[in-house]
Amino acid sequence: MSEPFSYYSGIPTFEMMLGIALVAVLIFLIGMILNMKKWGGGSVKAFLSAFIKSATKEGHQSILTSVVLDILLQRRIIRRSPFRWVMHMLIFVGWGGMLVLSLIFALFEILHKIGIGSFDLNVVRSGFDTPNEVLGYLLLIGIIIAIIRRVALSEVSKRTQVFDWVLVLGILFITVTGFMAEGYRPDAVSAWTFLGADEALAQTLALFHVAISLLFCIAYIPFSKYMHMIAAPLTIIANGGGE
């Protein structure tokens, strides 16, 4: 083996990961089209034109301001509850950050595959280790706070439904499998090395982790109540954001 641990974004075969990603994105797009059709009274075009009209209405703050202050920094939440804001930001930054890092790394892998650029993918990958680890912990802390909140605060636990639990536990599961896949890697530098090195298990877990991440966090969203993850930012843009 020229590259001793020949998986980069965590999976032995890059093609397999690409395949799953494409399927996930395709399912996601079909779901989005179905939703836009539903919102547009049967027509995607009707929805899109209503959306563009609303988002660009006179008097609205700029879309960039909405994206930065209202979607990325979620200032509407901080005004209501700084504690909830911290929880949201931990989850959001952790989850979003890892998604962005994965996309960047996938890009490196594609470049490497088609032979553009001369870089050692193992070196690039190890550069991603620490940020990934830090983001993973942010996400984990955020989820643990969310779970404690759901259990400990009576007004939150009273209105918690099954699907709320599916969401938090689902993300917790994905996060933990990610840490485990990392921990089993023979070249791991993570705190999870206590699991012991097992390349075969690491590869299987990594594939499993990426597959459920893509399917649960991307493909499933438009078909579930988690659609708010897409519809809420779109709503903020359509309504011109603001405090």
Partner: protein, 445 residues
């Protein structure tokens, strides 16, 4: 629920098999998307005034209503519906949803606090309209609005020719002027103390003003808020009629003392007509604040160190953004000890009258108003002021209910023995300027 209507009492539409139980054709795409945007955080439930007044009956929680309509949409238009056909929604569920949806004053605080920034007012109004079209809505006496407003141009069963009956002999109204006063049905027919106070203050300030008189039609707000704008196309016709009549008079500025009419003229009329009117729309509170800034108002009396607070009418504040003008007026009143209510400005608690609730579910309107009165008691207010005849009416009823007083004649100035006076800004202004607030009928007596 006080006036729970049973599904079977209503004329339910026959839904052919395989057809969706609900339609969404009058709900705009953005509102439909917003039903999917709710994160179910429950923040709105912490603020909803009707939920508080109904002892937190979660059926009327905004979050719950969003979940239910979303689930209806999923059953009729979701992926499974696409694959296997729409699933039938039990009539009773739709009727119950309708009734709960009408237990709402369209105050909009749920949207203000929503982290996802949902424009709930538009969602509620459009969904109400969809349910009215379906035969489920509106609720109770709200169903009288289309006939009354459509035929008589006011909701109080009064004759158009009586529009100016309130005008006392001492009041001067110009045939033509740069400024018009749009009286509105409530001040013109029922709360005439506001109309006479407004007219006398403007006269005293030597601001010539004109009025539409018999040509003034109800602003249409009650129909829009209760999901009945399509019946007879009345609100649109009213918007066109009023705007064209005011434009024909050549006025440059139109003054409104009613929050409901002001909201209609600022937001609903341009929306219905597809254009802005050729005049400026100004609420009287802002106009008075401007007069104070220019040193035009000369106070002659004092509030004698009374504690006065201010209830932001939701249709004036949260809906349009007028918050500071009324405060400036109150703070400039001699002898006024101004205190804020704990919930103020865009987070205010509604008086309970809006969204057709006063007409449709009076018990609920009273319950919400009582909550607002308690807010004012918490800050030990001697006077609870507002800037809307409808708020004044409902808060007055709430005050009487909390203090165990008889429901009074609200054209009469609040009696001095009341522990808490509920009074409109313009009436207080007139009194402190040394003007009479007696209505024509009181003067004649």
């Amino acid at each position: 629920m006080a006036e729970e209507k049973k599904a079977e009492e209503k004329q339910m539409p026959e839904i052919p098999k395989g057809e969706p139980s609900i339609k969404t054709d009058v709900i705009d795409p953005i509102s439909l998307m917003q039903y999917d945007a709710c994160t179910r955080c429950g923040e709105c439930d912490n603020w909803c005034p009707t939920l508080d007044a109904m002892e937190r009956d979660m059926n009327i929680s905004p979050r719950d209503k969003i979940s239910r309509w979303r689930s209806f949409m999923g059953k009729n238009y979701g992926l499974l519906a696409k694959l296997f056909g729409p699933k039938e929604i039990p009539e009773e569920d739709i009727q119950n949803f309708n009734d709960h949806l009408f237990h709402c004053t369209t105050c909009g605080v749920c949207g203000t606090v929503c982290p996802a920034g949902l424009n709930t007012i538009e969602m509620w109004e459009a969904t109400r309209q969809q349910l009215v079209l379906r035969g489920n809505g509106p609720y109770g006496k709200q169903s009288l609005f289309p006939k009354l407003i459509g035929e008589m141009h006011n909701p109080y069963m009064k004759e158009q020719k009586d529009r100016l009956l309130w005008v006392p002999d001492d009041v001067e109204i110009a045939d033509n002027a740069d400024i018009a006063y749009f009286t509105g049905c409530t001040a013109g027919f029922n709360m005439q103390v506001l109309a006479v106070s407004t007219a006398r203050v403007l006269n005293k300030l030597e601001v010539p003003f004109t009025m539409l008189g018999e040509d003034e039609w109800c602003c249409g707000s009650a129909l829009i808020r209760t999901g009945q704008p399509h019946i007879g196309d009345t609100p649109r016709q009213a918007a066109i009629h009023n705007v064209e009549a005011l434009e024909a008079k050549g006025v440059k500025k139109v003054l409104f003392a009613c929050a409901g009419c002001f909201r209609a003229a600022t937001i609903d009329w341009p929306h219905l007509m597809g254009r802005e009117p050729n005049f400026e729309v100004v609420h009287l509170a802002d106009f008075l604040a401007e007069q104070i800034e220019h040193g035009k108002i000369k106070w002659e009396n004092s509030l004698e160190n009374k504690t006065i607070t201010y209830h932001d009418p939701c249709h004036l504040g949260r809906h349009v953004g007028v918050f500071e003008g009324p405060r400036k007026v109150i703070k400039s009143m001699p002898g006024a000890k101004f205190v804020e209510l704990e919930r103020n400005r865009d987070l205010q608690r509604c008086c309970g009258a809006g969204g057709g609730v006063k007409a449709g579910i009076p018990d609920l309107a009273l319950g919400v108003a009582s909550g607002r009165i308690k807010d004012a008691m918490d800050v030990k207010a001697d006077i609870l002021s507002s800037a809307c005849p409808f708020c004044r009416r409902n808060l007055g009823d709430g005050r009487n209910s909390v203090l165990g007083l008889e429901t009074g004649d609200f054209n009469v100035r609040d009696s001095e023995e009341n522990d808490m006076q509920v009074e409109d800004l313009i009436v207080l202004t007139a009194e402190l300027m040394g003007l009479s607030t007696k209505t024509k009928s009181q003067t004649e007596e």
